[in-house]
């Protein structure tokens, strides 16, 4: 396993020789990684039924790697939960299943389609229709069904302003609601995960990472990520200065012409609300370099945030991650 933190280590040596290889080398901790591992161990120790919310995106994939590191050589002591909107990129789903298989993880999938069929939520219509907000209901139902008391998510404080004040352990009530005025202060690295019956906690182990931190980590660790993160040919159309996937899930006017372009995605959420960027970057190195040069924030490529500046904050209040 590659880890650039180990200086001068011979990467090709078989594992049984690693001891020898390391004798003269010192491991320099990456402070953000160490903090995340610390948080994940606190979750496992303080809660009875934690779950890792897995979207198939780079942030949740990073969380899986961090969890592996936190508990190695034991297996990750909590399952993964994927709230499937039904509008995921097929590449993401294939990747998810392969990851789970390779690491021997437990995966739970709950579908937004089921919540729609049960009449709990109504599908949005029109130009900006998306299932992103509908996920909340499916998630809250899953929390209830499995009695999860801690949901680990890959949100980062640098994503946007409303997140900048998010706690690492964020207490939610029965309705998943977030009360920004009534959060527990978090002092030093002490985490207070005590909750009442019916409450649960959203945990954000990579709160302090930036988008670039995540990409550099993926590169250094050689973590596998879904292919749509790399430049590929795709049928797209342009709207509001952004690049959208052209397929049956995404609303499109007759006037919006479909063309083929080299694109990649910076986030891999729901197809309906995830825009692509024109790019030729087809390796991790090239992607990281592009992110470093980039002057557009990751969320700038998310249509649901454009709808309203306060969109995220509102979603959080009703129980979205």
């Amino acid at each position: 396993m590659r880890d650039d933190n180990f200086r001068e280590m011979d990467l090709n040596k078989p594992k049984r020789n690693i001891k020898l290889a390391i004798m003269s080398n010192q491991y320099i901790p990456n402070p953000k990684e160490a903090e995340s591992i610390h948080i994940l161990r606190e979750v496992a120790a303080q809660f009875e039924k934690p779950v890792l919310l897995f979207s198939g995106g780079k942030d949740s994939i990073t969380l899986v790697r961090l969890a592996q590191k936190a508990f190695y050589p034991a297996r990750i002591p909590f399952p993964l939960l994927h709230i499937d909107t039904g509008h995921n990129f097929p590449e993401t789903i294939a990747f998810r299943d392969q990851l789970v298989e390779e690491l021997g993880l437990e995966l739970i999938v709950r579908n937004v389609q089921d919540s729609i069929d049960q009449g709990k939520v109504t599908e949005e219509r029109g130009r900006y229709a998306s299932r992103n907000t509908l996920q909340t209901t499916t998630l809250l139902d899953a929390i209830e069904e499995f009695k999860f008391d801690a949901c680990i998510g890959g949100a980062r404080r640098d994503e946007e302003k409303a997140r900048a004040k998010e706690r690492v352990f964020s207490v939610r009530d029965d309705f998943g609601q977030w009360d920004e005025k009534n959060q527990r202060p978090e002092l030093f690295d002490m985490l207070n995960g005590r909750i009442h019956q019916g409450q649960n906690v959203r945990v954000f182990p990579i709160s302090n990472w930036t988008e670039l931190d995540v990409w550099e980590y993926i590169k250094n660790e050689q973590i596998k990520i879904p292919s749509i993160y790399f430049a590929h040919k795709r049928e797209v159309f342009f709207r509001d200065g952004m690049v959208w996937t052209a397929n049956q899930h995404v609303y499109r006017d007759h006037s919006e012409e479909v063309v083929e372009r080299m694109v990649r995605f910076r986030t891999v959420g729901d197809m309906t609300c995830t825009a692509a960027v024109l790019s030729e970057a087809d390796t991790l190195e090239a992607v990281v370099e592009e992110i470093r040069q980039s002057t557009i924030s990751e969320r700038g490529a998310r249509i649901d945030d454009k709808r309203s500046e306060a969109a995220m904050e509102k979603r959080k209040k009703v129980g979205y991650f």
Partner: protein, 418 residues
């Protein structure tokens, strides 16, 4: 290489309107951390408000509720980086709940930037900001004398503020070399990342250059290693049938394979057999690493225990004296019982005595019968079991704790052990 960028954690402090948001926005802008869409939003908003300059404070002002009230109500975290350094800024708002917020922000920071409005000079709030930096023993304080443009970049104004502040430093535990003064204009970008031509009389570094060269320490000079056990790892797989690893983070100093250790609270002695980080075995875990260690003999270790070198035992006491900062609306009174969380360990604690409330303006103390939100005081506690600690001055991690209310489960106080 970028992957080993230095990490510097900063708490910002200033009264309302001293220009904190503007300064942070300016730092983001100057380091190229403001994305096009954010920059456009700032331009749009600035124009809407009829400004003829860019209002960078818009880059950070967060929640809707706050924007409506026009104030920031909670600690916000902001990130930027240069080629060499990653920065995390804990931005703490300067209004009534100030003490709680700044203590919280400072607890995860190494450096404080204290803003002073050049027109107002050192005011009572400045005392408080510096008091908290001192209480938390931050490793460096940067005094940014802001809005120099409004005082004609006058050196005299700066020197007066500087000497007023130096009088405060005398009363603190800081040495002069931990304090740096920089005259700036956050709005105009003078001495933030670019050397000011308007203030050629100033010979020091710009703010950003200064932050980059800092080598902050976290009070680890004593180099006594502390390893609180977070989690016991028992894979129970064929390959690791007998593996019993103790997972945790190393604080204060390094731990080496072969070190003779003592497990607290049982005082059992053993030896470090191996140290693991993921798939690798390492010889030495330096402070700050999150590792897993195994011991030579079968020692009973569980979460909340602490592994230390046998030659460096910490203090073990059933009653402690600590400086407390109250971070919750519920006041602290004599006789109150709380859960005391000390790192990853918890015991019950009873407030035995409130010795005094300490004034945060360096003016002394007074006798009180309770400590309210934002109060700082000296308190003695009786504990259900001994805790194993170091004075806060020697080790921030083993020298601090939080109190958790048994009813609400809220974190009500933070303590720094004497």
């Amino acid at each position: 290489m970028t992957e080993n960028r230095k990490l510097i954690k900063i708490a910002t402090a200033g009264s309302v309107d001293d220009g904190k948001s503007t300064l942070i926005g300016r730092l983001l802008y100057d380091t190229g951390s403001l994305t096009t869409d954010k920059l456009e939003a700032i331009e749009r908003n600035s124009k809407q408000k009829g400004y003829d300059y860019l209002d960078f404070s818009l880059a950070t002002d967060g929640l809707v509720a706050e924007r409506e009230q026009g104030i920031t109500i909670d600690v916000a975290h902001i990130y930027f980086n240069t080629d060499k350094t990653n920065f995390i800024v804990a931005d703490t708002p300067g209004h009534v709940e100030y003490t709680r917020n700044m203590v919280t922000g400072a607890s995860t920071s190494q450096v404080a930037i204290i803003l002073i409005d050049a027109r107002k000079g050192v005011i009572e709030q400045t005392y408080r900001h510096f008091f908290i930096s001192n209480l938390l023993r931050l490793s460096h304080v940067v005094v940014a004398v802001n809005k120099m443009d409004l005082v004609d970049y006058d050196e005299e104004v700066y020197l007066k503020i500087r000497s007023d502040f130096e009088a405060l430093v005398e009363k603190s535990d800081f040495s002069a070399d931990q304090i740096t003064f920089i005259p700036i204009s956050a709005l105009k970008g003078e001495n933030v990342s670019q050397k000011s031509e308007m203030m050629s009389w100033y010979v020091g570094n710009t703010l950003l250059d200064h932050l980059e060269v800092l080598e902050p320490s976290d009070l680890q000079e004593s180099s006594t290693a502390r390893f609180p056990v977070q989690f016991v790892i028992r894979p129970k797989t064929e390959a690791y049938h007998d593996f019993r690893g103790f997972a945790g983070k190393v604080y204060g100093g390094n731990l080496k394979k072969g070190d003779l250790i003592t497990v607290l609270p049982s005082f059992t002695e053993s030896k470090i057999k191996s140290i693991h980080f993921f798939e690798n075995e390492i010889e030495e875990a330096i402070a700050g690493s999150a590792v897993t260690i195994t011991l030579e003999n079968e020692v009973n270790v569980s979460r909340g225990d602490m592994i230390v070198r046998s030659s460096e035992l910490p203090k073990s006491e059933k009653s402690i004296i600590a400086t407390i900062c109250q971070v919750n609306n519920k006041p602290l009174r004599v006789g109150d019982k709380y859960t005391l969380q000390h790192g990853v360990n918890s015991v019950l604690a009873k407030v035995d005595q409130i010795q005094a409330k300490i004034h945060t303006d360096f003016s002394g103390e007074e006798a009180v019968d309770q400590l309210r939100l934002n109060d700082i005081g000296k308190v003695t506690f009786k504990l259900s079991k001994p805790i194993h600690f170091d004075p806060y001055l020697q080790n921030k991690s083993t020298g601090s704790f939080i109190l958790i209310d048994e009813g609400s489960f809220d974190t009500v106080s933070v303590g720094f052990i004497d």
